[in-house]
């Protein structure tokens, strides 16, 4: 994480690098797509609800200002 306010040793501004978007999908269908501004707290917390029609896998994706994309997934079984 980088706030975009700091300067390096040569006085150049270090580019901002924070998460600006978060998405949650279930088997390719979107549940929620959140645009985050800097006013979101550190260590962001989100709560939301999804319809799970059958067993499958959730995919959670985070997009960083510097172009990095982080994702993780979690399986869910409907019995």
């Amino acid at each position: 994480m980088e706030s975009g306010q700091r300067k390096d040793d040569d006085g150049n501004i270090i580019p901002r690098s924070i998460i600006n978007r978060f998405t949650a999908d279930f088997k390719g269908q979107n549940v929620i797509d959140v645009t985050l501004e800097p006013a979101i707290s550190t260590n962001p917390f989100f709560a939301f609800e999804a319809v799970v029609p059958e067993s499958g896998e959730f995919t959670f994706t985070w997009y960083d200002d510097d172009g990095d994309v982080y994702d993780t997934s979690k399986k869910i079984t409907v019995s």
Binding site: D25, N30, P38, A39, S41, T42, P44, F45, F46, F48
Partner: protein, 126 residues
């Protein structure tokens, strides 16, 4: 800060928020009633203020904080398998101010709700 300066700054922020809301709604009229905005009356720590919104029938909800240097906080877009048009998160508030939720409904209309949050310690460093 001098009192007059403080009020000018607040006016400036308020108009920034109005501009941001207008940019989101395209200047459409704002209804009210369908939104439940959950915010604490007093937040001891402005760095992490829990906020919840619930708007049945919304496709998109945007949160604004009218006393922050940048009023936009977050936009929630609900997908086809979202179970309820509600979400909660934690936000930063620089000082005591209004948190505003604006929702775009399925019929294209807009709804707005406001909640005043008193902040004991601001969330902008320092």
């Amino acid at each position: 800060m001098h009192l007059r300066q403080a009020s000018q700054v607040r006016l400036l922020f308020a108009s920034l928020t109005d501009d941001a809301i207008a940019a989101f709604t395209g200047g459409a009229e704002l209804g009210s009633g369908a939104i439940t905005l959950t915010a604490p009356e007093i937040a001891e720590n402005g760095n992490t203020v829990p906020i919840g919104v619930d708007v049945p029938g919304a496709t998109q909800i945007t949160l604004f904080a009218d006393g922050n240097p940048v009023p936009n906080v977050a936009t929630f877009n609900f997908g086809p398998i979202s179970a309820s048009r509600s979400a909660s998160t934690r936000i930063r508030l620089a000082a005591t101010q209004n948190v505003v939720a604006v929702a775009k409904m399925e019929d294209g209309s807009f709804q707005m709700a406001k909640a005043k949050v008193k902040v004991t310690i601001g969330g902008c460093g320092g």
